[in-house]
Symmetry: C2
Amino acid sequence: MEDVVKTAEAPVPAGAVKTKTRKGEQTRAQILDTALRLFLERGYEETTMRGIAEEAGVAVGNAYYYFKSKEHLIQAFYERTHHEHLAASREVLARERGLRERLLGVMRAKLDTIAPYHQFAGILFKTAADPKSPLNPFSEESLPVRQQATDLFAEVVTGSDTRLTAELTAELPNLLWIYHMGIILYWIHDKSPGSEKSYRLMERSVKLVLRLVSLFQFPLLRPFLRELLGMVADLRGGTQEGLRP
Amino acid sequence: MEDVVKTAEAPVPAGAVKTKTRKGEQTRAQILDTALRLFLERGYEETTMRGIAEEAGVAVGNAYYYFKSKEHLIQAFYERTHHEHLAASREVLARERGLRERLLGVMRAKLDTIAPYHQFAGILFKTAADPKSPLNPFSEESLPVRQQATDLFAEVVTGSDTRLTAELTAELPNLLWIYHMGIILYWIHDKSPGSEKSYRLMERSVKLVLRLVSLFQFPLLRPFLRELLGMVADLRGGTQEGLRP
DNA sequence: CGCTTTTGTTGAACGCGTTCAAAACGGCGC
DNA sequence: GCGCCGTTTTGAACGCGTTCAACAAAAGCG
């Protein structure tokens, strides 16, 4: 019964599309889907590689042929929510012009998209905190994701009707990215129902951030800002080689 | 040969000291010492519970009688550096009166004391980031350590010759603790030789922090400060039940 | 001293993530 | 058809952290 499947796929018009589906793509997808489903159903720790393989109808070794480790399976999660967040943010950014509304919308979208995964957010960040993990925000492997996230914050700023000084515009996206990581860190440990505390923190801190930003437009505070931006710039491209390729 | 040891210990004068040495204390210490030594010699991942037990001359199960898990063995590390830091800080605080010198000294002491453990700082923080881990700074088990750390920052402030408003004095220690965690987070990922980047970040950011503090003494910025402190106060005792017992 | 209870100790066994040599498959030239 | 070679798949095996029923040693007690 199962053996017939192999030719059931639409035969690719020769050479038309550079078919990556070397047949393994199917298996890969199957394993990944099964893994994500089981992670959600049972939690990360409780889901075993043997379980995933069995449910996916393959041998354990096969899962390791496509994914270097169990952790690498979570990375798919990370990327999935990341893309959901990008999509949700684009809606907000197309609609809103005010800096506050834009930032607030993007941040709210973030919390909304990651909400379903709060149960094993701990594991996700546990591994993310490990410098050796591929999930580590500073790692080589997550560079594209981080870049996109920073770009998103850049658009929050540049697409708004608020005009800022050039130097602030240049560095603010990075600062906002760090800020948003801080909020997520809080969210992870937040045990309040519906993560309401995280939402409250986010809303209040967004206000503060914007107040800070406008404060720093004052010439009086310019030297302070200079020092801050100088420090951040100095240290970038530093913690990890990957930061500035 | 080994059997003779049992009575070699000085017999405790009956009832004089509430001897906690129910004989197990020796074993416990032996296991812990061996573990810490092996962690340093071989690294955390490479050190096995079997290896620890063997070198300590006990059975594996015995190690688990004294320590709930391998992670709990690291916690001893955490506490050890913590106490070293407290000691080093006390020296600084006894010597210096200026707020900047005090904060700078305490922060420098922190980086200095944790320096030897940079190689497996990753593991330490990997597990520390997990909400379920005992090493998690917000967890019940690390409450005393966190409390002492916050108290330390309180003394940095109150023992200095700089006078601050009451509300700032009340909340600043908590903010400084969070700040210092941020620096450590950077340090973990810092691959620069001698962690020099972390030291530079620390020095520059201390300056900024102090500038911020003095800025907020201006009446003009008072509402901003109010909002900030209000937010922090609102959210404390929230992420984890343990925060305010 | 003998007894019970508490404390300490053992090592086999379990389930896990991961590895790897070997096998099966699939397309391609002949 | 046959042989070849890279891709895919297998499952037994390894080493690990951890558990647990059983046992031993020490402490308390009459």
